[in-house]
């Protein structure tokens, strides 16, 4: 009896250990966030305050939504360089319609969302059906979206949008900002879709090995198209949140989101070769980036040095991830 008990305990300990190591493997970004948070808390008295934490989440919201789209695309084995300009273009259309043309704000937003889908779908079709490398196809769409945004806005910010949509980016339910609630809700849905639905699994399978996925009867072209379209949709949605939060659309909205979202995904443990990682990782990656940025402003780091620090942190974060994966393997 005794030996069995010992074994049981050992097994239990081993199990807990395994689960912990697995969690740490999947959510390394969470630990990175905690450590970074700790460091900043020591360095600035303002860091660990309710207001600042709220700020951080607020600042995450738009990027996190876009990054979720990028996460799906990365899981599918590609990445999308057009997302940032898609954010800008689609929200410019929404702002233009509701402000300049006086169209119903919700209708305008619907149009923007559809446009986002369309941009993504075009990427997907160019890639899947016309076999243009995704990097090139999405770069092309990036340029087209940029032009379109310039033309629509005439490079002049469209600001002071109808009050109906203010709550999206600036409203609260109790003490919780609505855009943060939306972000979290979207991630819950996204994580669920990626694990539990046929579409989600197709994304993983195609990303893990497109040919094998094809031979398992998965319509990989359709999967690519849908994933890119979803990416575009989420970019448009993120753009709307950003637009409401800033109460304006200017040409810089969504600037560099395509990079920041890829960086967030990689920090969040998604593999750039596809098929590996979790959608929710992108959220952790975004939080990491924003906390990092927040801390740098708080510590009054010379802006000239900030890029370099960001670059170094990016490399180190991924390096740690590589080492961890190696060890645990």
């Amino acid at each position: 009896m005794d030996t069995i008990k010992v074994n049981d305990r050992n097994t239990a300990i081993k199990y807990v250990g395994q689960q912990l190591s697995r969690f740490s493997k999947e959510y390394a970004a969470v630990f990175a966030i905690l450590i970074m948070g700790l460091v900043f808390s020591f360095m600035s008295p303002y860091f660990f305050t309710a207001q600042n934490i709220k700020n951080i989440f607020l600042q995450c919201s738009a990027l996190a939504i876009v990054a979720m789209g990028q996460a799906f695309i990365i899981l599918n084995g590609q990445f999308d360089m057009s997302l940032g300009q898609c954010v800008c273009f689609t929200s410019a259309v929404a702002a233009y319609l509701m402000k300049i043309e006086g169209i119903n704000p919700w209708l305008s937003i619907l149009v923007a969302l559809l446009l986002g889908c369309l941009v993504g779908l075009t990427n997907g079709v160019l890639f899947a059906y016309f076999k243009i490398p995704a990097f090139i196809a999405t770069l092309g769409l990036q340029m087209i979206c940029r032009s379109a945004a310039k033309i629509i806005t005439n490079a002049t910010p469209i600001a002071r949008l109808p009050d109906d949509i203010a709550f999206l980016g600036r409203g609260y339910i109790g003490i919780f900002p609505i855009c943060v609630i939306i972000m979290i809700a979207l991630y819950i849905v996204g994580q669920f879709v990626s694990r539990k639905t046929r579409f989600g699994r197709n994304i993983y399978a195609t990303g893990g090995g497109a040919e094998a996925a094809y031979f398992a009867g998965i319509n990989i072209k359709k999967t690519y198209c849908l994933t890119f379209a979803l990416g575009g949709l989420l970019a448009a949605f993120g753009g709307i949140i950003l637009m409401s939060r800033l109460d304006s659309v200017s040409l810089t909205n969504g600037n560099l989101y395509e990079f920041d979202s890829v960086i967030a995904c990689v920090i969040g443990g998604l593999s750039l070769t596809g098929g590996k990682g979790k959608v929710i990782g992108a959220l952790f990656g975004v939080i990491f980036l924003i906390i990092f940025f927040n801390g740098m402003t708080m510590m009054n780091i010379d802006p000239f040095y900030q890029d370099a620090i960001k670059g170094a942190v990016l490399v180190i974060a991924v390096l740690l991830d590589v080492f961890r994966n190696k060890r645990s393997k």
Binding site: Q59, K150, A155, P157, D247, S250, T252, N255, T297
Partner: protein, 299 residues
């Protein structure tokens, strides 16, 4: 000025904390502004935090939010998007932190003042110089070919173009043979001139100094006989020396001395902290430098 500043520092019993959300730092003039803030604040004994908004409204919003969390006493903002920044200003308002804008006026009542000059007027001034130049130097020409190298993606720079054109359009013999975007790049600007040089260029307008200098490079490369390059905003050794040496192509430049902008902005910020009423616009001086007067700007 000086007295009130001391009052503030003593009254609070601690250093005045100034947060500056700078539009951008990757350009010579704005970098000089940033350095000037650091220098003058150190002299005055303020704690200052200058952040680079990278011409991105979202980034500036985040910076202002972070300033608010850190309970800065006053925020100075030069906005990439004068309207898109308003939600951030509203947060400052809720937190009771006064805001002074520079560069571009922010149309929001809470903003104490805008320390600025009129971009449109700088264009007008350069346009007037161009008109005079044409009268004096190109009197015998039937047609004057003008190339405009601008940056239409930036609203404040577009204002300069508009001001310049308001004068140019009154001169019949000027023909604008190209209006192209160099987006701040000398190489692109040089290539634009390069690509149009065969048409014969008599005058180049560069909305920022890099555009003007890119043009100069291309003109030198092609060995152009004569051509006047006018810069609608610049600062520093390179243009000043060129003007003082009577450069073959580089003829005139609009200057807004950083020392003045920063001095006026900090003064306005202190006044705002003290709750003084301020004019909507605090005008800073700007001038046009050419070979005759450039010495005044050099030190």
């Amino acid at each position: 000025g000086a007295k009130t500043e001391e009052e503030v520092t003593e009254k609070e019993g601690k250093k005045l904390k100034v947060g500056v959300a700078l539009l951008y730092k990757g350009d010579e003039w704005l970098a000089a502004i940033s350095d000037e803030y650091e220098r003058q604040a150190a002299e005055l004994g303020y704690e200052i935090n200058v952040q680079d908004g990278n011409q991105d409204n979202e980034k500036q919003t985040q910076q202002i939010e972070n300033f608010i969390t850190q309970q800065y006493d006053v925020i100075i903002a030069s906005a990439a998007d004068a309207q898109g920044i308003i939600p951030a200003i509203q947060k400052a308002e809720e937190a009771g932190i006064p805001v002074v804008s520079t560069d571009t006026p922010i149309e929001y009542s809470y903003v104490s003042t805008c320390v600025a000059w009129d971009n449109y007027e700088t264009g007008v001034k350069l346009g007037e110089y161009a008109k005079k130049y044409i009268e004096e130097n190109y009197a015998d020409k039937e047609k004057v070919n003008l190339v405009m190298i601008n940056a239409p993606s930036y609203p404040h720079l577009v204002k300069r173009d508009e001001g310049f054109l308001s004068i140019i359009n009154t001169i019949d013999k000027v023909e604008i043979i190209a209006t192209q975007d160099a987006n701040g790049s000398r190489e692109v600007s040089a290539n634009i001139i390069n690509n149009n040089i065969a048409k014969g260029i008599d005058m180049v307008y560069g909305v920022v100094d890099n555009h003007a200098w890119g043009a100069v490079t291309a003109l030198e490369e092609a060995g152009a006989e004569e051509c006047a390059v006018l810069s609608c905003g610049g600062y520093g050794d390179e243009p000043f020396t060129a003007l003082s040496e009577n450069h073959k192509y580089y003829k005139a430049l609009i200057v807004v001395p950083p020392v003045d902008v920063v001095r006026d902005s900090l003064a306005a910020a202190v006044k705002a902290v003290n709750g003084e009423e301020l004019e909507d616009i605090t005008n800073t001086s700007f001038g046009l430098a050419d070979s005759s007067n450039v010495k005044d700007y050099m030190d």
